[in-house]
Amino acid sequence: MTQTPATAARFTRTKPLELALSGSWTVRGIGRIDSELETLAVPSGVAVVIDASRIDAFDSAGAWIVHKLLHRLHGASGQAEIRDLRPEFVRLLDVVGQEIAQQASTSPPDAVKPLNKLESLGRGTADALEQGVALLAFVGESSLALSGWIAHPARIRWRPILYNIRSAGFDALPIVGLLSFLLGVVVAYQGADQLRQYGANIFVADLVGLSMLREFAPLITAIIVAGRSGSAYAAQIGSMAVSEEIDAMRTIGIAPLEMLVLPKVIALFIALPLLTVFADVLGVFGGMIMARAQLAVSYPEFLDRFAKTVSVTAYLIGISKAPVFAAIIVTVGCFQGFRTHGGADSVGLQTTRSVVQSIFLVIVADALFSVAFSALDL
């Protein structure tokens, strides 16, 4: 059996001009004999004889090496001859010879050179620019398709919209609720120490109410949805692109944007603000529980203070960010999905990109909102 550990391939120099090969000249037997043979020095201009009678296994890897050896000796000494190779092995060696002759006639492949720093910087910049332009084009096309829907409401596809509201909105309720509740707990807990020092316990309602409603609830909701649904969008559209489903859709006469992107846009426009409201409620609830436990602020006191200090404006500011975040998440997710080409690898890559980019852009947008709102004194 081939599985009995192959005896290693060996060569010995029996006479100055004679090499004896023995053992298994196969993938398993060869090991590093290649480099040993490379170092073999032969005087030039004399004939070398290779005795192959004791080779007991021979495969294409072995044939390749023996052929290379013969070729090299031939070049160095002008003459090299192989003797007593078993007939079935000779055939294999002949084939190698033919293939090499053919390969030599075609040009060798160009080695791929690693890029130098400047070149990779340039390529990276060009790629980023190209991606920016493509994103802009995608946003434009989607807007055009959306305005088409608004102009002709009969074309709106309700079923995928409702489906997306459920999968991106309703199904996300537990995780969004849990995380914002915990966030409310953490904010109240962290604030408790400071507030207690000044005897300003009741201000915990201000702290929790304003920070949750204005900042944390919209942001945590958007980040969860970006990780949960944005990645799903990219993976779904990406694998459809790989398996030619998107091309099929086009040929059937369904615009992929209308089928795949617009329902998600509309669904998330509806779902993300609602999720944010839900996160508001649970976040404040978490803070309220912590306020009673740590600062002895009772629920009625907390709610009384909350109603006095937290204005409707703060609430609306938080909610108003949600549609923008929704647009970012859907656009980036779908855009990266459509840029998938090639195989499974590419799907993974684009999905990762979509999550990283959408979370990044959501936080950037949030920062811009803060600047804008403070400039407007809101």
Binding site: R32, S60, E88, V95, G342
Partner: protein, 261 residues
């Protein structure tokens, strides 16, 4: 090649094989013998269980009962080291290639060598290039990624990878499906050349009538969970079973047959 008695150990020996998916019986007491160094083609309609049979032979799936011996090794309760050793003695070419998208073609072909031998990297690349050339691919293809190749090139590259370890047994799943007639003919010639050169046993799953007539030594027709007929194409032509007749009656069957005569 260094089998102690390659003439006597059958390449594949299947007896009383039964496979079920839930209540659906795929194979019922199926028997099959594939001789060493023959080109055996497995045919059958869609859903007849050809691919399932192949998957069971190459250790990707377990049958409900029955025994399968490949290259003399019983697959039932095979230990992990024995399975690993056996896997290195066969090569499989999958229908859609099964090439790894993250590796270049040269790396794909060299992967079995890198994994299972102690050869130096430059030597592995040389051997991979040679195997690619043997399957009729240009040297420049080696640096490309699978997603950049056409269907026919993918099949060749996949074949080159299956040949990387000089297997004793080669499994080809639909080697000519989706190829233009010229490429399909080249694949036919290639399969024949490989058998003559390396003394390989080759098992082909196919629907390609020309391939059956041109290169298959024996053909097995799978239907209703059993082999309904085994023999050379001209022997099968005498049989009267409806599952077998499908391959001879009808315009395509007759055209392929007359192409031989």
């Amino acid at each position: 090649m260094n089998e102690p008695s390659p003439e006597t150990t059958p390449a594949i020996e299947i007896s009383q094989l039964t496979t079920r998916f839930g209540d659906h019986v795929v194979h019922a007491d199926l028997d099959l013998l594939v001789h060493p160094t023959e080109i055996f083609a497995l045919v059958g309609g869609s859903g007849s269980g050809k691919s399932t049979l192949l998957r069971e032979i190459i250790l990707l799936q377990q049958p409900a009962s029955g025994s399968i011996k490949v290259l003399g090794v019983d697959l039932e309760n095979i230990s992990d080291p024995a399975a690993l050793a056996l896997r290195q003695r066969w090569g499989v070419m999958f229908q859609s290639g099964g090439l790894f998208g993250s590796l270049t073609i040269r790396e794909n072909v060299g992967l079995p060598l890198r994994e299972h031998s102690g050869l130096a990297d430059p030597l592995i690349d040389e051997i991979a290039d040679w195997k690619l050339a043997m399957t009729g691919l240009e040297p420049s293809v080696g640096a490309k990624y699978p997603s950049e190749l056409s269907g026919g090139m993918m099949k060749r590259a996949s074949l080159a990878r299956a040949l990387a370890l000089d297997p004793e047994l080669l499994f080809l799943d639909e080697p000519t499906a989706g190829l233009d007639p010229e490429s399909a003919e080249e694949i036919d010639r290639l399969i024949k050349k490989l058998r003559d050169l390396f003394g390989l046993g080759i098992v082909i799953i196919t629907h390609d009538l020309d391939l059956l007539w041109q290169i298959a030594d024996r053909v097995g027709v799978l239907a209703d969970g059993k082999m309904q007929g085994i023999g050379s194409m001209s022997e099968l032509a005498q049989l009267d079973h409806p599952a077998v007749r499908k391959f001879f009656d009808g315009p395509r069957g007759r055209a392929a047959q007359s192409g031989v005569k």
